[in-house]
Subunit: 356 residues, 2 copies
Amino acid sequence: MSLDTSLGVIELTEAICNIESVSGNEKALADAIEAALRSAAHLEVIRDGDAVVAKTNLGRDRRVVIAGHIDTVPVADNLPVSRRVIDGAEVLWGRGTVDMKAGVAVQLKLAVETAEPNVDVTWVFYDHEEVEASLDGLGRIARNRPDLLGASFAVLCEPSSAQVEGGCNGTMRVEVRTRGVKAHSARPWMGENAVHKAGQILTLLSQNQPDEVEVDGLVYRESLNAVLISGGIATNVIPDETVITVNYRFAPSKSEAEAFEYLKNFFAGFEVELKDAAAGARPGLDLPEAAAFVAATGSTAKPKYGWTDVARFSALGIPAVNFGPGDPNKAHADDENVPLEQITSAYESLRKWLNA
Amino acid sequence: MSLDTSLGVIELTEAICNIESVSGNEKALADAIEAALRSAAHLEVIRDGDAVVAKTNLGRDRRVVIAGHIDTVPVADNLPVSRRVIDGAEVLWGRGTVDMKAGVAVQLKLAVETAEPNVDVTWVFYDHEEVEASLDGLGRIARNRPDLLGASFAVLCEPSSAQVEGGCNGTMRVEVRTRGVKAHSARPWMGENAVHKAGQILTLLSQNQPDEVEVDGLVYRESLNAVLISGGIATNVIPDETVITVNYRFAPSKSEAEAFEYLKNFFAGFEVELKDAAAGARPGLDLPEAAAFVAATGSTAKPKYGWTDVARFSALGIPAVNFGPGDPNKAHADDENVPLEQITSAYESLRKWLNA
């Protein structure tokens, strides 16, 4: 399979979507992207597993990273993609159109076309973003070849309706536990019902009013939700344990330690066990590179709520923003679709910025 | 394997316990019981699957059924049985000692020894009591050979500390559901958390004070407990459903329909789905046969909380009581054990009653 980057960016998006690349199955798409990049004489191309990195080496005084993942969540009977009209707007409909192959198409077309950008650019196309964090291709490059990510600014082409979404909330998962004493359910007074006790936890959660926290001029909405609950072992036994998995999305001004402290206080009196966490990323829009990007793309900057790989750049000390076509609320949806206009708009904005 | 009914009732209990008969594996024990019963000339023996029925046919004006199940719950490293001293009392320790092979030993020894009881007796030894109700051997006999269960009174040798426990509570399981709307947990305000809503249900349950209901002179303690809870599909998705399985143990004066009506009112505003139910059994201690049995055995009658097969007799219009060695709280326990004194006492009481 090969990709023709002389196609329009919408047609290129269609072609990229139709090379199925559910996490773990990125090879064919990575091969096609690598071949397209190698066709451009101005790029130095490095392959790492199923990630492909392409660099200009023009000796510019600044370098930016423009990155996107090439994998998708599983297909839901929505490939190949099709063109449809939804609410009067022409869209490209199908898996990956939003998250995030329209962004990948914008990257790939610009990488090949832009021989003389006004900054040196490192284009990154990476694998395994949609699965457990330890497999993430960008994380692997950051560990193995941190030199490849050296830059003064980064753009992640994650869906953000072709507007700048700055930073991201952090995310933390904890298990909150109640314990009781098993007994036969015909004689429950011999035991102690751990599921009944969980009512207090759920009441706390349902009455909670999450904070809104201003960070670098953007307001981050936090949230705290039970995402899983389980308790009980049989229909005739009083349960001796309930486990509630809680997901806390916290503002990027908080550290992981502060977030965990908050949860321990919030669930005071119950066992709280930390399962995993990832700090957020400050939007950094007060930094000159980021402010210039917002201005060049004519964006109204908004906060990003979902955790994205901008946090990896943030951890490397590189300011980063999300900027890509597609409504993030449609990511992973069975009816995932992107307005054609957003693909063109994102492409034009980035092109102007690189050629200004 | 064979069983020697000339042994003392304690030794016979040991022998019966050591023929493992976890539900579905009753054949060896049923064979041994059948052989022992066939050795007694005064008994007519009928085999039905792994159930064995033995009848005297003396032309007495009354007939009683004395019944017990021969299966156990799974072994928990507690076979073969052993003799121990617990809290100063000699006990037989191991799987089945309480539920209910000491009772089976009492039945078997008396069946073979009592050639001329003062009533005709139908001895029933049946399979599959510890598993789903549809497999229950007593239920199978009631369906296939109801004539075998014809009687004016029944004794079920379920553990009741060698005292009469009358009737039993009914039991009903319902699923109570909350529903919400899925969303990515980074943007929970796009959805509606069904687990948080379940807090109201658990609060209702934990604040509930169950009724105590007097039926035929005995006070039945009801109970209402969540036995299972589950909700959520992934750690980054707002749950759109929670299912709470609730077990209601209701007094034998209530019908299944009344019990379900009670639950629908109790959980008003939530979906309540009936999963299964079994009516209880009134103690019937005001009936002459039952009163005579209480008197003959010198018992203090108490209510039975757990559902037992006395309800099957009750449904056939036959008054029935539980009377057997062992503390019902030790049934199914890993440290299941029966005081030797209760085995002897139950044996002596029944022997006196049959020979009065």
